[in-house]
């Protein structure tokens, strides 16, 4: 295909037999006649980096909450001069985004507003970040405290003798409302710092490219990257537990991660060590936290146990798996000193010091927010969704535990009212009869949407992509759009040189966390995107290729950390490479070659 625009969202042929698919999602997220003029004149790209699968109603809800939160910070809080929000739609179950630029004539007016507001954050970053940690931990604690257990036959006596005057039904409805508010709260916090953090990083990045025109993106990332990063902590804890298992003489208990029995005093001792770090560190998802099917380590123990088994094998094989913190710090200091030494004059050195200084102040947030929100918060959030689903199924409002996933959060209010009112009256409920068929129909639709291949983009792309967040967060550039359109130069697979080195090996395509375990020693991981919790497999793969992702994508950060060559943001690597292909990954040049 060679064209200068992608298909219109209004002309696109979706999958067969999915009539009514729009009902799974909020009306505000659908393309439609009401806004056709606006929608048809925009460029929309599928955010397969974060939402690579067809969304269920609850997946979609968190997508909407995230994008609204992101947008609000740009447009209303900090007044990012050229960028308002990132508009979002769901089409046939897939998440499409369209960054909204500011009318050029209004950019100037927003500059002083931005300077004052963002300036305050940059100037007080560490204090605000400390407060942020407290706020987020408090939000998580409040979500955890929500009670979605079934309504009782009779209220506790204390409710009466305490003169409370309010019952469990009221508490359940209130808890559900609070739950939705708290999720929005957590996602507001997610973006409180993120865009500003990226902006400061981007500024240092641009400076480096100016003074060292050929500097690899990696060189810049290495100067900024934190050494002691919370995001890597879960994996480090697994290594410690692997060592502990060896020390306690129970290493063999992990040979089959599906059936680990921890007997005796040693087993109890090991279990105590696990318990001491489980919260928060194993609130860690095998995916990216955005999907109901993402597995959480503390719940699906066979996943961390499998990684522990691999680490045990490495330690027993004489390998040192400790993260060499001192060496990493020394290397970072060396790189900074060398670049600084190569600058031409004091003006450059002054700019280098101040920009690097700011980039390093903001970067712990950029790296760590992912653990606090995507992993920890979302682990707790999904647990609560499941709790509610189980309660509603138990008391006959819905047929199955996971039927709830196919009811929109706003529709759940109806079910809860039905539940509450008829619990109060002690009379039959209507929900099972009403929602049973709807859920069944929606399941079928969702299955069909899941099999459909969503187009990379929709509508007319801008001539040049200049929107800073599109490039920084999603790695989408004029070049990648051209390659999606088939107008770019077609000489193999290219992307971001995300982690240096060249490797050859056999490709294995991995589309979901469940398939990660299929990776064999020495294979090359090819995926739409990788998640940080896949980190334990990185020591055994030879290289990594992803479809989507910029220099600061999760994949890039983790690959660099584990020294695995990686090319990210290839656009369609998973379309062109098949499992079993021998490929060469040049993580320094940003190219992937299919050898045979």
């Amino acid at each position: 295909m060679t064209a200068n625009r992608f298909e219109s969202p209004f002309e696109l042929n979706g999958p067969e037999g999915v009539d009514g698919w729009e009902d799974l999602y909020s009306p505000s997220s659908s393309f439609g006649e009401a806004r056709r003029n606006y929608e048809d004149n925009r460029f929309w790209f599928w955010d397969s980096m974060h939402w690579g699968h067809a969304l269920t109603p609850w997946d979609a809800y968190f997508f909407e909450v995230a994008l609204a939160s992101l947008s609000q910070m740009n447009s209303r809080h900090y007044r990012i001069p050229p960028a308002d929000g990132v508009d979002f739609r769901i089409l046939y179950g897939y998440a499409y985004l369209s960054p909204v630029g500011v009318d050029p004539s209004k950019i100037e007016d927003r500059v002083p507003q931005f300077m004052e507001r963002a300036g305050f954050y940059f100037g007080n970053w560490n204090d605000l970040y400390d407060r942020w940690l407290d706020k987020v931990k408090d939000t998580i604690a409040r979500i955890e405290a929500l009670d979605f257990s079934p309504l009782p036959e009779m209220e506790d006596l204390e409710v009466v003798t305490g003169g409370v005057g309010l019952g469990s039904g009221f508490e359940l409805l209130k808890s559900y409302h609070q739950f939705k508010d708290l999720v929005l709260e957590a996602w507001n916090y997610h973006f409180e710092f993120l865009n500003l953090g990226y902006a400061a990083y981007l500024d240092f990045f641009g400076f480096c490219k100016e003074v060292f025109p050929s500097i690899p993106d990696l060189g810049i990332a290495k100067m900024v990257a934190g050494v002691d990063v919370d995001l890597f902590r879960p994996n480090e804890e697994l290594k410690t537990l692997a060592r502990k298992a060896i020390d306690l003489g129970i290493a063999r208990a992990f040979d089959d991660p599906e059936h680990v029995s921890l007997d005796g005093a040693a087993g109890a001792q090991w279990q105590a060590a696990w318990d001491a770090v489980e919260n928060p560190w194993f609130n860690f998802t095998s995916g990216n936290g955005f999907y109901h099917f993402d597995k959480i380590w503390k719940q699906e123990r066979s996943i961390p146990y499998g990684f522990i088994r691999d680490y045990i094998a490495k330690i027993e094989g004489g390998e040192d798996i400790t993260r060499p913190i001192e060496a990493i710090t020394a290397e970072r200091d060396r790189i900074v000193a060398e670049y600084r030494d190569l600058l031409s004059n004091d003006e450059q050195r002054e700019a280098f010091d101040s920009k690097l200084g700011l980039a390093r102040v903001v970067f712990p947030y950029v790296e760590n927010h992912n653990f606090y929100i995507e992993h920890w918060t979302m682990s707790v959030v999904w647990q609560k969704v499941r709790e509610l689903g189980t309660t509603l199924a138990k008391d006959g409002l819905l047929a199955e535990d996971d039927d709830l996933l196919f009811v929109r959060p706003d529709e759940v209010d109806q079910i809860l009212w039905d539940y509450y009112a008829n619990w109060a009256v002690n009379a039959p409920t209507v929900s099972a009869a009403k929602w049973g068929p709807i859920v069944e129909r929606r399941r079928a639709i969702h299955a069909k949407l899941s099999d459909w291949k969503a187009p990379k983009a929709l509508g007319e792309p801008p001539e040049v992509i200049t929107e800073p967040f599109t490039i920084m967060l999603w790695g989408i550039t004029s070049e990648s759009v051209a390659s999606w359109l088939g107008t770019g130069s077609d000489d193999g697979i290219t992307g971001m040189a995300a982690s240096p080195g060249i490797a050859e090996g056999t490709a294995r395509l991995v589309f979901s966390p469940e398939e990660v375990g299929d990776l064999q020693e020495g294979e090359i991981l090819v995926a739409p995107i990788t998640a940080p919790s896949w980190a334990p497999v990185f020591p055994k793969i030879r290289a990594c290729v992803t479809d989507i992702g910029g220099m600061m994508s999760h994949a890039a950060i983790v690959c660099r950390e584990y020294g695995v060559p990686a090319v990210t943001g290839t656009g369609f690597g998973t379309n062109m490479i098949s499992t079993g292909d021998r490929i060469r990954v040049d993580g320094s040049g940003g190219t992937v070659t299919i050898l045979d």
Partner: protein, 387 residues
């Protein structure tokens, strides 16, 4: 007769030609030898630019092949022979500088006259002992050496015009070293040097010649390295040209060398361009340097390994740090030295093209963080990876 041309009696002139000769007379009158590893910067006028640079590199503990300089004092000794002074002066006095053929003829005759004269006895002794010491140091009898001229002029920054800067490779044995040292001396009187001095009005006797004697490197490969990316001036990279054998093939342009860009900081090969190299200069079994065809399977093979590229880049970076400005370095990989010690530096000069460019002030924003962030957001200059 041109007043710039005649050679005057050095013995008479010595006290007046500047501080270095005064020092010569008082301290080291009989010291004709300066070993590179004992070189001190104030000896530069004694040993000339090229030798000084080698000594300087050795002082910086850079891996330079061992050797020594035969000082200008040795050269001055030949002019104590008044018959030589008279002969040279009379040849120069009759010279019509506009007559090219005559210029060549006079040059040939002066050079022959100098080379024919016996080297003064004390110089022969000093040179002979030094060469034998070098042989002993390298544990090889009749050590092959490079004998090269290293001109100096007390009042000129750059004396390179003064002679052909002759270099003689693979010289083995005391007698041949003496012969070639004399040829270096006489290279002050090439037709080109005479003409140049005449045009510029430089006085012949103010130019003196030192000679360098350095262990010959037998390179597997050799080339040059710039401590910046010549296409955009990026100082975080080293550009390396490399080809098989001696550097002559690269310098003369007879081969298109392999070309690499190495990241100085990340120690990564950033770009590699391996070309087809058809010929190389190498030492034949007969002990002479010859241009030979490269066997087919080696033609398209990279002439340096990645590990060697890193070593070359590191060496170039050290030179850059030592001299405090971007450098243009000649290097070679010695066939006989063990891996890890086999990358040698032959020469280091300041890079001139980018170094002379005025550094541009930083684009909008500069050191004001907020203004700079605004400018970054409004016109992000980053783009897809730098391929």
């Amino acid at each position: 007769m041109c007043e710039a041309c005649p050679i005057i009696d050095w013995a008479k002139e010595l006290p007046t030609v500047g501080s270095f000769t005064a020092r010569l007379v008082s301290d080291i009158m009989n010291d004709f030898i300066v070993w590179y590893d004992r070189y001190e910067p104030d000896q530069k006028p004694l040993v000339g630019g090229k030798n000084a640079s080698l000594g300087e590199m050795m002082r910086a503990e850079m891996p330079v092949p061992p050797g020594f300089a035969l000082t200008v004092e040795a050269y001055s000794m030949i002019w104590q022979d008044s018959s030589l002074v008279n002969d040279v002066n009379s040849l120069l006095s009759g010279l019509d500088h506009d007559d090219y053929a005559q210029n060549v003829d006079v040059s040939n005759r002066i050079r022959a006259r100098i080379e024919m004269s016996p080297m003064p006895e004390p110089v022969v002794d000093a040179l002979g002992v030094a060469y034998e010491n070098l042989c002993a140091h390298c544990d090889l009898e009749n050590l092959p050496v490079a004998v090269r001229s290293s001109a100096t002029a007390e009042d000129l920054l750059d004396a390179s015009f003064a002679g052909q800067q002759d270099t003689y490779l693979w010289i083995c044995g005391t007698e041949p070293v003496i012969e070639h040292a004399k040829r270096c001396w006489s290279s002050l009187f090439t037709d080109r040097a005479i003409a140049y001095r005449h045009q510029m009005g430089y006085l012949s006797h103010r130019i003196a010649m030192s000679v360098g004697v350095q262990k010959m490197v037998d390179p597997i490969s050799s080339g040059v390295a710039f401590t910046l990316n010549p296409s955009n001036g990026d100082r975080s990279q080293v550009a390396i040209d490399a080809s098989w054998g001696l550097g002559e093939a690269v310098v003369s342009g007879e081969v298109t060398p392999d070309n690499f860009l190495v990241d100085k900081v990340l120690h990564e090969v950033f770009k590699r361009d391996v070309s087809t190299k058809l010929v190389e200069y190498r030492l034949t079994t007969a002990g002479v340097v010859e241009k030979v065809e490269i066997e087919p399977d080696r033609q398209s093979q990279a002439s340096v390994s990645d590990a060697e590229l890193m070593a070359i880049a590191q060496l170039a970076r050290r030179a850059e740090k030592h001299y405090g400005c971007p450098q243009d370095v000649e290097w070679a990989i010695d066939r006989h030295l063990p891996e890890g010690e086999n990358v040698l530096m032959l020469q280091s000069r300041p890079e001139t093209v980018w170094s002379r460019k005025q550094t541009q002030p930083l684009r909008s924003g500069g050191t004001d963080s907020m203004a700079s962030i605004v400018s970054t957001l409004v016109s992000p200059l980053h783009k897809k990876s730098d391929t």
